[in-house]
């Protein structure tokens, strides 16, 4: 332990049980290990119901994993004393997807921010408090701050609301922010500016990020030096640096998603050929624990894929969980063919 790790997950599994007499286990996260170091960015990419939000909540200590360990600053989160927990808790913040729901609609911006600033900064006077609130608003780009102080959340656009949510999460000087789809509900033209704010927080303040999204393009804009982890049905299938993973995607699922990602360029987009999967639907009912989770949809799957679960192995600079990694056909992303 070199003290650099903020959160470490060790073989974390989370299932939800349903049913009263006959319990059915619904696996959301299966055997995931992950380390987040100081100032690092990890982007979790996956389609809906792949377990990425659950994983984010486990990292943030909001839910307890069924199996495995969560370490915060090297200490077991679910065994630490209450005092320790209270010390670490503020250092790991969450920004949610829906800024319309995460801000109290009956309070002004000043009323939302000032109690938290009071608690953490203990300002000596009212004018100190006001100055802190204004500084914070200015820092996240809600300028001029005086204009915003007495506004209610419904006066703000989606992008501004999300800036306010970030402002609030910054007050305890966090080391890590778990950002769960922070831009998916914001307009195209404003997404970049919110991503830009996150970038600034990472670069200026050294805050580590777990960025959860289904959209590789926004992840790529946020941090080209980040680690990209691809999730599918609770498992991580491919993990490596963003650059490399996008340049040489290995897992058939990642290739399929990349081949299907829309590209804002009509000449490339109109000639795009996507990789056809065996089935369009994600099997939702029961998560199978045997075999590769992607095997029923994978166009290349063989017998071995249905029998054994592949583990992450090193392959062309990143880690991939696929049995057929050496047998896969060459594949070049569509935009590279054109350029």
């Amino acid at each position: 332990m070199n003290g650099e790790e903020i959160v470490e997950l060790k073989n974390v599994t989370k299932y939800f049980e349903k049913g009263f007499i006959k319990k059915v286990r619904n696996y959301a996260v299966i055997d995931v290990s992950l380390k987040i170091r100081k100032g690092e960015i990890i982007t979790l990419i996956g389609e809906s119901s792949c377990g990425k939000t659950t994983l984010g909540r486990i990292v943030a200590g909001l839910i307890r994993p069924s199996k495995g360990k969560v370490l915060w600053f090297g200490k077991d989160l679910w065994r630490m004393s209450k005092r320790e927990f209270n010390r670490y808790r503020p250092l790991i913040q969450v920004v949610h997807q829906d800024p319309y729901a995460s801000l109290n609609p009956t309070r002004t911006i000043y009323q939302i921010l000032s109690p938290i600033i009071k608690k953490y900064y203990k300002p000596k006077s009212k004018s100190d408090l006001l100055r802190e609130v204004k500084n914070l608003l200015g820092y996240v780009g809600l300028t001029p701050p005086d204009y915003f102080l007495n506004k209610y959340p419904h006066h703000l656009s989606g992008g501004m609301k999300q800036r306010l949510a970030f402002a609030r999460s910054l007050i305890p000087k966090p080391k890590l922010i778990v950002a769960d789809e922070p831009v998916s509900m914001i307009d195209m033209s404003l997404r970049l500016s919110v991503l830009g704010l996150m970038k600034k927080l990472n670069e200026d303040l050294g805050i580590a990020f777990i960025y959860i999204s289904h959209d590789i393009a926004t992840a790529r804009f946020f941090a080209d030096k980040a680690t990209l982890a691809l999730m599918y049905l609770g498992r991580i299938l491919e993990i490596g640096s963003m650059d490399e993973v996008i340049r040489t995607p290995m897992h058939p699922y990642l290739r399929a998603i990349l081949s299907a990602s829309p590209i804002p360029d009509p000449r490339i987009a109109k000639r795009r050929r996507k990789i056809e999967l065996k089935s369009l639907e994600v099997p939702r009912e029961v998560v199978q624990l045997k075999g590769c989770p992607f095997s029923p949809r994978c166009p290349y799957s063989e017998d071995v894929c249905f029998e054994n679960t592949p583990s992450l192995k090193r392959c062309s600079g990143h880690e991939v969980a696929c049995h057929l990694v050496d047998k896969l056909p060459e594949w070049v992303p569509p935009w590279q063919v054109m350029v």
Binding site: E47, L192, A256, I257, P262, P264, D265, L280, W335
Partner: protein
């Protein structure tokens, strides 16, 4: 070029407590027949209200004025409610935003198809209608046997969306309006739906009018694009002109503001400022407060349309080139 839909000076206003909110401001637009035309704009720019204005599906506080909304040779603005109801879905079908929720939860898909059909046409037998439904469901890669006997809750979001697309074609419409057809769907499902719509367009030659904020989807599907901002259409051109040689500053900024998998991420820049409030729109050109090429005239007078190369653009930058 034939135009299937010609909108002339359409105005849509909502009466709200603070006064009247003009969300569609004097919009004129022609939709060419047999092509896919896209209407692009940010949320709140009035694009969904424009659709409501065309089909008269506004909430009770909405008011419409126009010099005519022509569908082929019928003026929709002059029709009675009953006459318009007959045209909706039968000749102009609409796939609404979050269409997943527009299926009746207590009807099986098969019954839903029959109900929709019988609301418009009489005479054909149940078997004939269901045979047609089967054909359309196969076209969108669904298993008709299973789907027709399912309730909506038994289907995934992507499947429901495909059911709605199939259902919209059951009466052989001449115009299909798609309002954000792929939002709220996963990447792979989204591209599957786009491929299906393109296939339907190719095979049936069906005219489509796509309303979206999602520019990558536009790049992939559309032939023509109209850019809307704060209740006004600001630029109309073919898709390549819009993406490579757009004339209106907002169009260029918008295209530069989309995160993409290609190109250098540092080329991407957000648009400064935020969209104006429609209660209190800026004077002159509605984009002037955010425009980097602002001129003295821009905040005084609203620009008319100018023909520049292949674009039709409402911007004073091209005012004196004529």
């Amino acid at each position: 070029m034939n135009h299937i839909l010609r909108i002339k000076n359409l105005i849509v206003e909502y009466a709200v407590r603070e006064g009247s909110l003009r969300v569609v401001n004097n919009v004129s637009l022609d939709v060419p027949e047999g092509k896919i035309t896209a209407l692009v704009g940010e949320s709140g720019c009035g694009k969904s209200s424009l659709l409501d204005g065309i089909l008269r599906t506004l909430p009770p506080n909405g008011y419409i004025r126009s010099n005519g909304v022509w569908f082929k040779d019928i003026n929709l603005a002059r029709l009675s409610n009953e006459e318009l109801r007959r045209i909706r879905w039968e000749r102009i079908a609409v796939v609404f935003q979050a269409a997943q929720n527009s299926l009746n939860p207590v009807l099986k898909i098969g019954d839903h198809v029959l109900e929709t059909y019988h609301a418009h046409r009489k005479g054909e037998s149940k078997d004939e209608i269901l045979a047609k439904a089967r054909e359309l469901l196969e076209m969108v890669n669904l298993d008709p046997k299973q789907v027709l006997n399912s309730y909506p809750y038994e289907l995934s979001g992507g499947m429901k969306q495909r059911v709605i697309i199939a259902l919209s074609l059951i009466l052989d419409p001449e115009l299909l309006i798609l309002d954000e057809p792929t939002s709220a769907l996963d990447t792979y499902t989204q591209s599957t739906i786009i491929d299906m719509l393109k296939k339907i367009h190719r095979e049936k030659g069906l005219t489509m009018f796509l309303v979206t904020h999602d520019l990558p989807v536009v790049a992939e599907m559309a032939d023509y694009v109209a850019v809307m901002y704060a209740g006004k259409i600001m630029e109309v051109a073919d898709v390549e002109t819009i993406f490579y040689k757009a004339k209106y500053p907002y169009t260029n900024l918008l295209i530069k503001a989309i995160p993409s998998l290609i190109g250098d991420p540092s080329d991407r820049k957000p648009i400064p400022g935020s969209p104006p409030s429609l209660l209190n729109p800026p004077s002159g050109c509605v984009f002037h407060p955010r425009c980097p090429f602002r001129r003295p005239i821009c905040d005084k007078k609203a620009p008319p349309f100018f023909h520049v190369d292949k674009s039709l653009v409402a911007c004073w930058l091209y005012g004196d080139t004529k």
